[in-house]
């Protein structure tokens, strides 16, 4: 059998540039996990329904299982591993998930963290209803969502406080 042709692609993940030679059919979710060993991105349904594999593409949440990695030429991707503070500590969304007990088994959590991180950039102070709409594309089979909705609002508070603290210094 003929070996599958490889395609050259370059993109940035969590601020680090990568150059890869990969088969055209490789999904971004698989490239992140298998080629780059960034296993924080989880693969649930693999057809765009569950939201577990959500990453930020140039700041906007997208499903990494619904894009081919070779189409990401020049892109700036952020995975859950990049949703931390510059020092490597928990970012505001991660902290809020801990504060509000917004996860149980944790499988869906990376998709929520990235989705909410992206969402807070466009809406810094969401209502509970807006928070619910923001996470409507992510499935969680454990929590019943109440604590996740609370975590969206908590994350907004933490982020505002961080920004204020940074402005003050």
């Amino acid at each position: 059998m003929e070996a599958e042709a490889l395609v050259h692609v370059e993109f940035t993940v969590n601020g680090r540039p990568h150059e890869l030679e990969i088969p055209a059919r490789r999904l971004l979710s698989d490239t992140l996990r298998h080629d780059l060993r960034l296993t924080g991105t989880h693969v649930g349904c693999e057809h765009g329904v569950c939201g577990a594999c959500t990453v930020l593409l140039d700041g906007d949440p997208v499903r990494s299982c619904l894009v081919f990695a070779v189409t990401m030429q020049g892109a700036d991707i952020t995975t859950v591993e990049g949703c931390c503070t510059p020092g490597g500590g928990m970012g505001p969304v991660q902290q809020a998930f801990q504060d509000c007990h917004a996860l149980q088994c944790g499988f869906c959590t990376p998709g929520f963290i990235t989705t909410i991180t992206g969402y807070l950039e466009e809406n810094a102070d969401p209502t509970a209803e807006e928070a619910r709409e923001a996470i409507a594309g992510n499935l969680c089979r454990c929590t019943g969502y109440q604590n996740i909705v609370a975590a969206v609002q908590r994350a907004a508070q933490l982020k505002q406080a961080q920004l204020k603290a940074r402005d003050a210094t």
């Binding site: 042709a5 698989d30 949440p61 997208v62 299982c65 619904l66 923001a134 409507a136």
Partner: protein, 294 residues
């Protein structure tokens, strides 16, 4: 859940893309946002031998508003089209329809033109296009042609686009002053494919009476089903002759039974959602009129 192998093409310009498409013929498929195509490929329901990636043709990432239409380029993402305030002011139905397209995360990558070319009978934006009227701009190595909205949707998942053509843009016609619009749908799960959906555009006069009314229904036919219900308007104000309205809709739709809903239930939804969409469209028209007058 992995796609079968394919050969990847990343053209650097529109002419280059057209040449590649002409060379590949039936074997080639255009990849824009891929939010329908990639899952189809992952489930092996589609296995194109070649994909032509147009995501890097930034000249197609456009939303233009003129006095007569809104023109959306082939790689303008749903979220961008939905956020565009000038496009919303010109055609509120664009945003009203887009907010029903899957989830925000899907809309960040999926393109409005791609959704129209994909021609899924359950998709919202084909219905928005036939409801407003407009054209799809197709280009090939041998030139360009414009296909009218009413001629574009040939069947389920089938548009008038030929294999060697690229849909570079879609022009949505602006509705006249005094118009109002709405889009409503019902899905098993929020953001999922609608069991039935209805877009409506009504025209109103200075006395707030409806003078014209059209609806486009999704998930109840081979494509978006456009129905002019103007003749069901009765008296003044927002009243419709209900039996006449339902008869007009029933004559045109042909819902099928599937795992999500029976054909009878879809027909019931078509009636209920048509009335609801028309009511909302009229309220929207009056609200816009007041805002303009104020």
């Amino acid at each position: 859940m992995k796609p079968s192998p394919f050969t990847y093409h990343r053209p650097g310009s529109i002419p280059e893309a057209l040449e590649v498409l002409a060379e590949l013929g039936d074997a080639g498929k255009v990849l824009a946002g891929g939010q329908s195509l990639v899952p189809l490929m992952s489930m092996r329901l589609a296995a194109p031998a070649h994909l032509v990636d147009i995501n890097h043709l930034t000249e197609l990432d456009t939303v233009e508003v003129t006095d007569t239409y809104v023109r959306v380029g082939a790689i303008a993402r749903h979220s961008r089209v939905g956020r565009d305030q000038a496009a919303y002011d010109a055609i509120p139905l664009l945003r009203q329809g887009l907010l029903n397209v899957a989830h925000p995360t899907i809309r960040n990558r999926g393109t409005t033109v791609g959704s129209i070319v994909h021609a899924d009978p359950a998709a919202e934006m084909p219905a928005v296009l036939v409801l407003l009227g407009g054209t799809v701009e197709l280009r090939g190595v041998n030139g360009k042609r414009d296909v009218a909205a009413g001629d574009f949707f040939v069947g389920p998942m089938e548009s008038a686009t030929r294999p060697d053509e690229l849909a570079v843009a879609v022009m949505f016609r602006r509705p006249p002053h005094g118009s109002g619009s709405a889009f409503v749908e019902l899905a098993r799960r929020h953001g999922d494919y609608a069991m039935c959906g209805v877009g409506a555009v009504v025209g109103t006069d200075a006395e707030d009476s409806i003078t014209s009314a059209r609806v486009a229904l999704i998930s109840v036919g081979a494509g978006p089903v456009l129905v002019d219900v103007t003749e069901a308007i009765t008296g003044s104000g927002g009243a419709f002759d209900e039996p006449a309205l339902i008869r007009l809709v029933d004559e045109r739709i042909d819902p099928e039974t599937d795992i999500h809903a029976s054909s009878e239930y879809r027909r019931h939804l078509a009636h209920v959602l048509t009335r609801r969409a028309l009511d909302m469209a009229r309220e929207h028209a009056l609200r816009r009129r007041r805002e303009r007058g104020a």
